[in-house]
Amino acid sequence: MSQSYNRGLIEDFGRWREFTAGMWAWILHKFTGWVLIGYLFTHIAVLSTALSGANAYTNTLQGLESLLLVRVMEVGLLAVAVFHILNGVRLLFVDLGVGLEAQDKSFYASLVVTAVIVLASIPTFLEGAF
């Protein structure tokens, strides 16, 4: 079919407005997954300062935590982790064949619960940051 016309990616992410709940759940789950594995590498790297002694560890952590940017990014990390957990539970149920008819509603529910948990946690996360 050398002559046939390939429409490229127009029909994929260019059409995000037409995506359904299950598709959004997949995109967000993949995105949050990438963020979390990326964070895990950074996390271990930062904690590795413990190898250089007690003071290096304490100073590095408290130094980072004193930065407003780090605090705000932690809220972002919380949002990412909570969504990944909740949607992950949703996916476990889907894998068990439970509640497949309500998969779109359970996705919306995980979004709402994520938002509530994150908003409620902001005061704790930003405490003393300003």
Binding site: W34, I44, A50, Q62, S66, E74, G88, L91, G128
Partner: protein, 121 residues
């Protein structure tokens, strides 16, 4: 016809383990966030506090298991995402090796740090 599409390298084990680790991680990740942001505040963490926690065998074991399962879950997830893009041949081999090395390095370094924190090493 089936052999046209791939060898019978089953994908059931990675899929299954991804789910098993997920069930474990859901609980431990929630616990981890709760402990280090609500019970203790991340901004007040000191080396002394960390070692005090890590000296508890149950906690140390949980954290090491947390690290190992998270590494598997994350790296396997990345690999699955790349397979979705139709990864084949040499590229696939390279990705496998790179991901395996990264995972082993992460797990080894993390475990080492945990043992140092707990005072075992």
């Amino acid at each position: 016809m089936a052999e046209r599409y791939s060898s019978f390298s089953s994908g059931s084990l990675p899929w299954f383990l991804q789910r098993v680790t997920a069930a474990f991680l859901v609980v431990v990740l929630a616990f981890h966030f709760f402990l280090l942001h609500f019970v203790n505040h991340a901004s007040e963490v000191t080396f002394a506090q960390t070692t005090a926690r890590m000296e508890e065998w149950g906690y140390l074991l949980t954290m090491v298991l947390f690290l190992l399962t998270a590494t598997f879950h994350g790296v396997n997830g990345v690999y699955a995402a790349l397979l979705n893009q139709g990864l084949t041949g040499t590229k696939k081999r390279v990705v496998q090796v790179v991901l395996a090395v990264a995972a082993l390095a992460l797990a080894a370094q993390g475990t080492y740090v945990a043992l140092v924190m707990s005072g075992v090493m």
